[in-house]
């Protein structure tokens, strides 16, 4: 093997790499390659926490706040997390309220996730769930702070302009103590505000569904018990679907993800082999 080959290994035309990557993504979409999935501890904790919340009879009149900060830009991960979450909430007959601070999230969440699932599980708007709607990002901190002591006064109206106090699901929901859990589905750093301003002594349970990119930076919060469970990106969504015994996008693309990771590992190895071999060859030529 000569140094020209090592150079070529490091300088493979990026268009070839992109083309191969696309093939590795597209082929599993056509050919279903079933792979075993093992839910991670964080996903299991996420599921178990909601199971505990559902089992606690004291939560019958409480709500789960589902905070969505995602938009179609990160739909590839967050939408499937949201779908699995809402499925779980509806399967366990938990009341919930959706809230968002992203301009596009409200429409996408309601039309693509909540409404189809509500039809499937017989959930009725106002009786079983409510949509608090969109608030501008500028009032994010003030809104979270306001929810601690006065939820009706902070939210006032739902997404359609109806006073939230007129809904049966909001009848007994006044302060933080009437919140059974908070689930944050987000591609941005919204957790700090919830943990800093809303949570007290890890109550109510705070569950986190970020994009995979953010997950490693939140392990300290998992370790300290501030976050009780985490769905790590699309893998977390797939784990959650497995635990719920449902099959959606998260489970579907597990094979495509695995193939792509294998390709990337191979490319990293090839690139590094080329790099170190080139360095060694240069040193040999110099001596």
């Amino acid at each position: 093997m000569n140094s020209t080959l090592w150079n070529r290994l490091q300088t493979i035309d990026r268009r070839i790499i992109y083309a191969v990557l696309l093939l590795f993504i597209i082929i599993p979409l056509f050919i279903d390659i079933p792979l075993p999935t093992y839910p991670s501890k964080q996903s299991q904790d996420f599921y178990d926490t909601l199971e505990k919340v559902a089992a606690d009879k004291g939560n019958a009149n409480k709500i789960v706040i589902v905070n969505g900060m995602w938009s179609p830009s990160t739909r590839g991960e967050n939408q499937w997390q949201a779908e699995a979450l809402i499925t779980h909430l509806m399967q366990k007959h938990l009341h919930f309220a959706t809230l968002t601070f992203d301009t596009q999230n409200d429409t996408v969440m309601q039309t693509s996730v909540v409404e189809p699932l509500a039809k499937k599980y017989g959930y009725v708007y106002g009786r079983d769930y409510v949509n608090w709607g969109y608030r501008p990002n500028a009032v994010y901190v003030i809104t979270i702070k306001g929810l601690v002591t006065n939820i009706p006064g902070t939210i006032k109206k739902d997404a359609h302009g109806t006073p939230i106090t007129s809904f049966a699901v909001m009848k007994n929901v006044k302060t933080r103590s009437d919140v059974a859990a908070v689930v944050d589905i987000t591609p941005v750093e919204s957790t700090e505000t919830w943990l800093g301003l809303f949570e007290q002594n890890n109550s109510p349970p705070y569950l986190f569904a970020p994009t995979a990119v953010m997950a490693p930076t939140y392990y300290p919060y998992l370790d300290s018990g501030q976050i009780q469970g985490m769905l790590t990106g699309i893998k977390g969504a797939g784990d959650y679907e497995g635990l719920l015994h449902t099959k959606s996008f998260g489970s579907r693309i597990a094979s495509a993800l695995s193939l792509v990771y294998a390709l990337i590992i191979l490319l990293v190895i090839i690139g590094n082999v080329g790099h170190f071999a080139t360095r060694a060859a240069k040193r040999r030529e110099a001596s």
Partner: protein, 228 residues
Amino acid sequence: MTEYLKHLLDPVLLFGALGTIAILSLVFKENRFYRLFEHIFLGLALGYDLELTWTTVLKPQFWDAMVHDGQWAWIMAVPVGLMFYGVYTQRFAWMSRLVFGIFFGLAAGTAFQDFSARFMPQVTRSFAPNKSLIPPPPTPGDPHALLHQVSFVLNNFLFLGIVVCVLVYFLFAFEQKNRAVLRTAQLGRWVLMFSFGAIFGSTIMTRMALLIDRMYFIFHDWLRLVKG
């Protein structure tokens, strides 16, 4: 026109698919197709933001509250909002600083509570028994007792060592001339790089998931070549 063709030419799906292909075409070469959709994307995003700001914020919470609910005090938001624009003139810049100052003050005030509630639980986690450098007695009947003891000690020494190294790396008030300090800081930098590698790997998951979602949209939602 066949049903399939009608579906392919559905304006919403077609626009989404062409937009996806146009933006992705940048990875091969910058081209006019990309530029066209880039500008459409920018314009759409701006227009959508404006529309949403009016229909979901200004109209229901400001205009309707004033005109229909009689809450005329909301009109005071207008001069306060206009004060922001003072930043564009020398004469009225002081007005914008007043408003910025209020926002900064609000942020600073909540930062104290935020810091306590966010970071103090992590600091005091070091007082938990599972952070001890000496392992607790092994659980009777545990087949992997020795392994658990060793990993317990190793994990906690690593935890402590890494915290010290990384904090030393980020000390700026002291010149890092002393060899011990310098080596500790270098080790801290290496450890940071390990963690960045882990984050890089996680991020690849996100990027690939988003790309797979786009391909799914094209091949399943638009071309209907893939079964759901």
